[in-house]
Amino acid sequence: MPDVIAAVDEGGANDLLQDAEATLGTLSDSGSGSLGPFTANWSASATFSGGTADLIAPNTVRLTDVRMDYTVSFTFSFDLSSIIPDFCLPQVCLDIPFIGRVCTPKICINWPTVTIPVSHSSFVKFTADFNPTVTLSGGVWKVDVVIAGVPSLQLGPAAAAIILAIGAAAALVLFAIPFIGPVLAIAVAAITAAIGVAGVLGLLGPILSPFVAGLRFTVYEQPQLFEILPAAPPDAAVNVTLTAITAAVVSTDEDELVLNVDFSP
C-alpha cells in the first residue's frame, strides 16, 4: 500500500477545476496569419472558467462546457487600389477677372495603402477529455490533467461579428482618406467581401485552437524534497523525499481522482 492515498470526488474535482482555471491565468500569444486574401498580424489572450468535471475510470476527466473568454486584436494592410479603382477629378475651369480663364489639370487620386486595426472579444464553450499526467521535472512533482485531442470550437457567430467589426474599423480608417467619400461604402463592402466569414474563420481558428489544444490544469504540485515542518530555531526543517506518485480515476460507488504517493525519510 502506498504511504499516502489522497482522493477527491467529482464535487471536489469541480472545485479544484475552478481553482486550477484561476491559477492558469491569462494565456497570450501573437503571430501572423491569413485573413482571406490579406496577411494579418495578430495578438490574442484567453482565460478559462466554468465547466463541469466528470470523472471516468480509468484515466479520463471530462470537462463539459468550459468557457474560454478571448480577445483577438489584429491589423491587416493592403493597397486600397487593389480594392477600388483609381478615381480622377475632372478638369475645372474658371474665369478670374484679373488673371483670365484658368483650368486646373485632371487630378487622379492614388489610393494609399491602409492599415485596418480590429479588436474583438467574446467567448466560446467546449467539452473535452483530459488525462491525469504525472511528471517529475526540475525536482518538482506535478499532476496535470492534460487535454486529449482538440475539440471543435464553434466560432461561426464570432466570425460573423468580426466581419461586422472589420467593416466598422475599415469605415473608420477609410473615412479619413481624402476623396474616398463617394466610394467609401463600396470600399468597405469590397473589403468585407474579399475576406468573408470563411476568411475570418481561417484566421480565428488557428489563433484560438492552440490555446485549447495545449490546455493543462495542474491539480497537484510539490517539490520532490517535501517539507513536513519548517525550520524553527533551534530545530532544523523536517523533509521527506517524494519517491513515486501515480494518478488515476477509480470507480467504486462513486468516481474519484486518486493520487498514490510514496516517500522516504
Binding site: 492515498i5 489522497a6 464535487g11 532544523a236 523536517v238 521527506v240 460507488d253 462513486e254 493520487l259
Partner: protein
C-alpha cells in the same frame, strides 16, 4: 465503497508512511527524544545539540541535584488492526487506535553525598548508571483544524505502556506510569500538518477524522 465516502476529499496516511514521517522528524530533531540534566550523561548522540538539557532533580543534601537522562528510540507505530504480532497483556489495540514500540534508556548519575569524593569537585565521582527497557504502548490521534483549507495538525497521545517482567509489580506499575508520562510528552511534541498526511494534495477543510483503521490514519474534508 469510495475513499471519500460522504465528503469530497480523503487523505489516508499508511502506517509505513507514518513511520517514515516520525523517522524524518526525530532524525532532524533528535533533541525531542534525548533529555538530560548534564553533559555527564553520555551519548550517543555525541552532539550537545541532539539533547534537550534540563535541570537536575533537586534534593536536600544532594549537591547540584540528581543528574538524570531519559532517551527514547524512534517509535514504530502500528495503526489498527494489529500487524505487529500481538501486544503484551493487558494492552489491546482497539478500533481507532495505534500501538507503538520503542525503547527507553534511563540514566542516573550515581554519586555519594560525602566522604569518598573530592570536596572541591563534588560531581567528579558520579557514575552514570543506565537501564534500557523495551516497551509497548497504545494511544490515539487527534486533529486540530485551523479554519483555513489545508491548515491543521495531527497529534499523538499515549494512553498506556507496558514494560514486561519488572518485579515487584508495584515497581512495574510505577515505571510504566512514569515512562508513559515521559513518552506521551515526547511524542506530544510531534505536530504533523495536514499536508504531511496528504503529501500536499487537495487542501481541504476538515469535516471528520482522524479515523484510524485499515492500517491508515484517515482525514476527510471538503475543498473550499
Amino acid at each position: 465503497m469510495s475513499l471519500t465516502e460522504t465528503e469530497e476529499v480523503h487523505a489516508g496516511l499508511n502506517e509505513s508512511g507514518a513511520n517514515d514521517l516520525l523517522t524524518a522528524v526525530f532524525t532532524a530533531r533528535p533533541r525531542l527524544l534525548n533529555y538530560r540534566s548534564s553533559p555527564l550523561i553520555p551519548g550517543p548522540p555525541a552532539s550537545p545539540a541532539a539533547w534537550t538539557t534540563m535541570a537536575p532533580i533537586p534534593f536536600p543534601g544532594v549537591p547540584g541535584g540528581i543528574g538524570w537522562g531519559v532517551q527514547f528510540s524512534i517509535p514504530a507505530i502500528d495503526f489498527h488492526p494489529d500487524s505487529s504480532g500481538g501486544l503484551p497483556p493487558p494492552l489491546v489495540l482497539g478500533a481507532g487506535r495505534f500501538s507503538l514500540r520503542t525503547t527507553v534508556t534511563l540514566t542516573l548519575l550515581c554519586g555519594t553525598r560525602r566522604g569518598e569524593h573530592d570536596p572541591d569537585h563534588p560531581q567528579a565521582a558520579v557514575t552514570p548508571l543506565r537501564a534500557k527497557l523495551e516497551l509497548v504502548g497504545i494511544g490515539h490521534t487527534n486533529a486540530v483544524y485551523f479554519g483555513t483549507p489545508g491548515q491543521g495538525e495531527v497529534t499523538f497521545d499515549v494512553d498506556a505502556v507496558e514494560i514486561v517482567d519488572i518485579k515487584p509489580d508495584e515497581l512495574e506499575t510505577l515505571l510504566e506510569c512514569l515512562i508513559r508520562m515521559l513518552l506521551d510528552a515526547a511524542l506530544g511534541t510531534v505536530h504533523l500538518p495536514f499536508q504531511a498526511v496528504s503529501a500536499g494534495a487537495f487542501a481541504f477543510a476538515l469535516v471528520r477524522g482522524p479515523e484510524v483503521e485499515n492500517d491508515q490514519l484517515k482525514l476527510y474534508g471538503n475543498v473550499l
